[in-house]
Symmetry: C2
Subunit: 404 residues, 2 copies
């Protein structure tokens, strides 16, 4: 009987292991097709180096449940871009030698853009060489930048963290009587989805995201300062979210743009948030603080979205089902059926149409002045952050799956 | 009938409003003694300026429950140190004029060290002038640095956030094969309690806090680098927590200490975490990242400790009861009865013994090399972070009390 191998690559998320749990469960649930369920350590490098482990500890339901709430890549990750097909046969031969040694009939690659490229290349190589292995991609990325799929597991939980941080920091900042500004910097070098999630912090009671700066719009410092000044006329606490990837009209990253800093005698000290913090403080004189969410936004498993965890898990299960059904070179993608009620379907999408493309926020989701998101964005993103999973803690510590 | 006035001051916490909810509930629960329940906006300044509001919206149970999960000071805060008694009678006269106008018989001040000083001065002034008002302090501070009381509401939730961040970041950082280091900077200028909470991240499965640097010990850069190097011999991912307040043997803050930076050509760019990040990277060559939790550690209401929320609320309720029983110039303090099972009592403690003192971590809780915490600390702190409250979300957003 053929076996299943699963690997993870790229940057971790809070729910990438929920997808791993889904793949494992999908494997165990089809004993008529799948013999053993293996995991490769550190992505494709684990195949190359033959660091492959059986995942039987997850036959225990409690362990599987813990895996679903364990952040980061449980199997370890790598950032290896596979060589172009035909350029390095030795590499591919080695990979397939190991896959055959372990009698792998089904390979699931959980990851983002590079992992879909891996899925693409391995399935193409297998087809070319007449190998029967089916290769399926299971998406993850907090950046939500994969094309064709409606969204990507990992995004909902990261978006929830960002928007709830904005809400809480807005209250924290508002306690004194003085004018004050917070600049929160979120991940997203080219696509602003995660920064955009700050817009979900707003509701009828609280304006917790007054200005949002996305990499989809050229950042003009003068308009930005003018906008901050305008908001300050009616609001004591100004909440700003900026993407790490904001650039000026010439494409220069704001964080590397010292020209304005020089003008006022302040060199840029850090990322985009730190840079605009300096500008606001020096030009408007408001008390300003910048906060970088750093890796917390992608690994904060203590505040995930139930929608996201469930979809991540289901994408894993479906990935295995697609492979069993004979699909290869496909990704378990998301197709939205309706917004209200939220209804979504997992469908096989060809990875060759996904790998190496990048989905940015469409124009209709960005307000005319470029400093906010429209209702269309909120209708799109709100369901993805909805719901709170029951989490297992012990003595106040979030519990994780036992190590292999 | 006399009325109750409550105010909040100092830096916000995730549970200071749970104490406010407790005071309000305590007021409503004693209609035989207390007429109206008022809140003063922005601490004592709200008394001075007569911005005083009735808190009747919290007769609604749902609103009261939401208040318990609303971070930051709901009534607003201030950082005013009251003038020494006898130095500014006009100020005190104005305060008592307003208190009398609103027929305040009971005043609860929720806050940290400065608020206990306020409690102390107001009760002393009242006693001196023969006024019948009873003034009670209700403690809060993430720093846990109030003396006499076993601990302080606000600490448990902040400690839980810090330790769970360490756990999650440890997994996030461990996914690649390379040696890497994370330096997490936590609040606490003089007392290291919050940084120490990183020690709670460790358990038999995971070492998520390998080195902890507290302001209670002089920071020696050479010993520190040696310690990092030592840990690197057996561990790929090194997790370090440093207090913002670490100082060298001469008492200079590490973040301002450029001498070592100059030696290696790197100026200190930010706080303590950023500074030691630079040292590790340049001297050991490890991939190093520093993360500043910033205000999130004090306002993260989405991950509070049930123990902390409950105790914060009960301290508010008890504060009112102490006032009704005739106490004044007292703080609702915590007395630990036992660790296992955890059992704690709320008792009146004289604020004159608390205000303007500072509790540091005792020697027996710090390991001999100064880079860790002993079991004694973990036994002390573990119960404080234990338990998870049921939180109310709507569409993925943590919900807060409606505005006044």
């Amino acid at each position: 009987m053929e076996n299943l191998l699963v690997l993870q690559s790229g940057g971790p998320t809070a729910v990438i292991n929920a997808s791993l749990a889904g793949v494992i469960k999908g494997g165990f649930d089809h004993p008529e097709k799948i013999g053993k369920v293996y995991g490769s350590l550190n992505g494709i490098e684990g195949v190359e180096n033959e660091t492959i482990r059986e995942l039987d500890i997850f036959k225990n339901e409690e362990n599987l449940r813990l895996l679903k709430q364990t952040p980061a890549s449980y199997l370890g990750s790598c950032r290896k871009k596979l060589p172009p097909l035909g350029s390095d046969d030795a590499f591919y031969d080695r990979i397939f030698e190991v896959l055959e040694k372990y009698n792998i009939g089904y390979l699931c690659c959980i990851g983002g853009n590079d992992s879909m490229d891996t899925t693409n290349k391995l399935s193409a190589y297998a087809a070319e060489k007449g190998k029967s292995i089916r290769v399926i991609g299971v998406p993850k990325t907090v950046d939500n930048d994969l094309v064709i799929t409606d969204h990507t597991p990992g995004y909902g939980s990261a978006a929830k963290f960002v928007s709830n941080c904005m809400r809480q920091i807005a209250l924290d900042t508002d306690v004194y009587k003085m004018q004050s500004v917070v600049v929160l910097e979120a991940m997203g070098r080219n696509a602003g989805w995660l920064t955009a999630a700050a817009a979900l912090a707003n509701d009828s009671e609280l304006s917790a995201a007054d200005i949002i700066c996305l990499p989809e719009r050229a950042f003009d410092a003068d308009s930005f300062i003018k906008k901050v000044e305008e908001v300050s006329k009616t609001k004591k606490t100004i909440m700003i979210a900026v993407s790490e990837g904001i650039r000026d009209k010439d494409g220069n990253y704001i964080k590397e743009n010292n020209s304005r800093g020089d003008k006022f005698g302040h060199a840029a000290l850090g990322g985009a948030g730190k840079t605009v913090e300096g500008w606001i403080a020096s030009e408007l004189g408001f008390k300003t603080r910048s906060i970088e969410l750093s890796t917390l936004q992608r690994c904060f498993a203590a505040g995930t979205s139930l929608c996201d965890v469930t979809e991540a898990f289901n994408a894993g299960v479906k990935g295995v089902e697609f492979a069993i059904a004979g699909h290869t070179g496909m990704m378990a993608g998301f197709k939205r059926i309706s917004n209200n009620p939220y209804n979504m379907e997992i469908v096989p999408l060809p990875v060759c149409d996904i790998a190496n493309f990048e989905k940015k926020i469409p124009d209709e989701m960005i307000t005319a002045d470029g400093f906010g998101l429209t209702d269309k964005f909120c209708e799109y993103a709100r369901p993805l952050i909805t719901g709170e999973p029951d989490l297992i803690y012990k003595g106040g510590s979030l519990q994780f799956a036992p190590k292999l």
